[in-house]
Subunit: 145 residues, 4 copies
């Protein structure tokens, strides 16, 4: 099993991501992409995608990417700016790293609607822990059993 597969399996245990119908599309050194089909359960009282749903897909795709690029990363904080209401059949979220120095990583996540329009811009800070990658791999392998 590749590192990527292990990581993906680990994140499959995320209950809230599952509840929210969010799926990981792709994870590489360059970026991670997640996607969610939008149903009534994702909408706010105004009929557009709820802010928490937009944040959740962004937070998730950042966590996957950060942990893929340099395990093990812990999210310290996130920030979201809403650009336009998302009235759409699906949303995608793409995470890219802006910079990583020592224990610090800063990434950007753009969430887009089904017309490829950006609906919100997110930034995340993560703390990269000093961990033994082999030990982490073992942990992932054991946990997925």
């Amino acid at each position: 099993m590749t590192d990527e597969e292990l990581l993906v399996r680990f994140f499959e245990k995320d209950g809230y991501v599952k509840l929210s119908g969010i799926e990981l599309v792709e994870v590489t050194q360059e970026k991670a992409v997640a996607r969610a089909e939008i149903g009534a359960e994702h909408l706010n009282a105004n009929g557009s995608v709820q802010g928490g749903m937009l944040y959740t897909i962004a937070d998730f795709v950042f966590a996957v990417h950060a942990n893929f690029v340099h395990p093990k990363s812990v999210t310290q904080g996130g920030q979201i700016t809403y650009i336009r209401p998302a009235v759409t059949k699906y949303i995608t979220a793409t995470a890219t790293e802006t910079v990583r120095v020592g224990h610090n990583t800063v990434s950007e996540v753009l969430v887009r609607d089904d017309k490829e329009q950006i609906v919100c811009v997110c930034h995340f800070n993560g703390f990269v822990k000093d961990v033994d990658k082999e030990e982490l791999k073992k942990k992932y392998e054991e946990e997925r059993k």
Copy 2:
């Protein structure tokens, strides 16, 4: 029907809040409080409450409070700092306004675990629209039919 009841009914239409099991406990001029019982569907792969869930309850309780204090408010952005992992039976989120000047409102939301410990600190910026409150009330009344 009081203004508070109308507002609460309006926000009851929020599908993602419902999916997430979040309930409004209280809304007054001073603060709004929301609460959610935590189940497996709210946990991340590490077994603590998922970051998106923490953000979602905060975003919701801010929106309710801002719209109660000065309708109609639109959330422009939010920021969350994670303080400790939330391993807990339930979480509560309390929104208070820091300052409002003209179209701008800034609020703080503290999310706590079942030991009353703060698990994350959130800040939100809202834009207060110039709307006729009677018209807004009518809109809420019609939409709830």
Copy 3:
């Protein structure tokens, strides 16, 4: 006098930017760049460039770029993440726009040291006002007299 020259002259009136020894290097549709030679007056008690100085050059270069690309823009907020201490002879700050929709613009500013290393990452939100560009030009022309 070109639009760019007018804008530059307008921003030359910024007293705090002058006090801080910050100079505009370049402004185009794609980006704006500012630069400052670092002296003892820019250092914090630990001997690296003070956080306020790093923020100030970032805030300035964002304001110039936003007003160049779509006058007139007003800064609503900024966020800075410190990546490494800046021990350097000069710093540069480069602003690029992430997205602009309607009244909202979100930009990123990267501040670098004399080794081209990123020392902090900044994000700004601006509000783009509906103004008559000819009127604004007149205002700039009058103010510079």
Copy 4:
């Protein structure tokens, strides 16, 4: 010499704070307050206090307070929301801690004009290092010589 005096002396070495005319008024467990008389050198091109100046006083008063309450603290990031233009003879900035858990501290800083009106709201995240307070005291004592 008391801990407070040592800390104050340490921060007196901050060159940019000096350049900006910022003075520490008070530091206690509960809060820290700084103040600056406003001159032409603090104004932006529109004639109100420049955003970088507002951020700088906030960043400074947070650093003093965080290091007073639990030395040694390092600022990780800051966020500022501008509420109203500051046209004023002086500004004050007051830092209070929202929460501190382990290595994390989150604080709020409010900057006010000479009418006691809030002009911007700031939030800071700090990392509290594990240091020997006696060693730190020695370092401060030596550095001030």
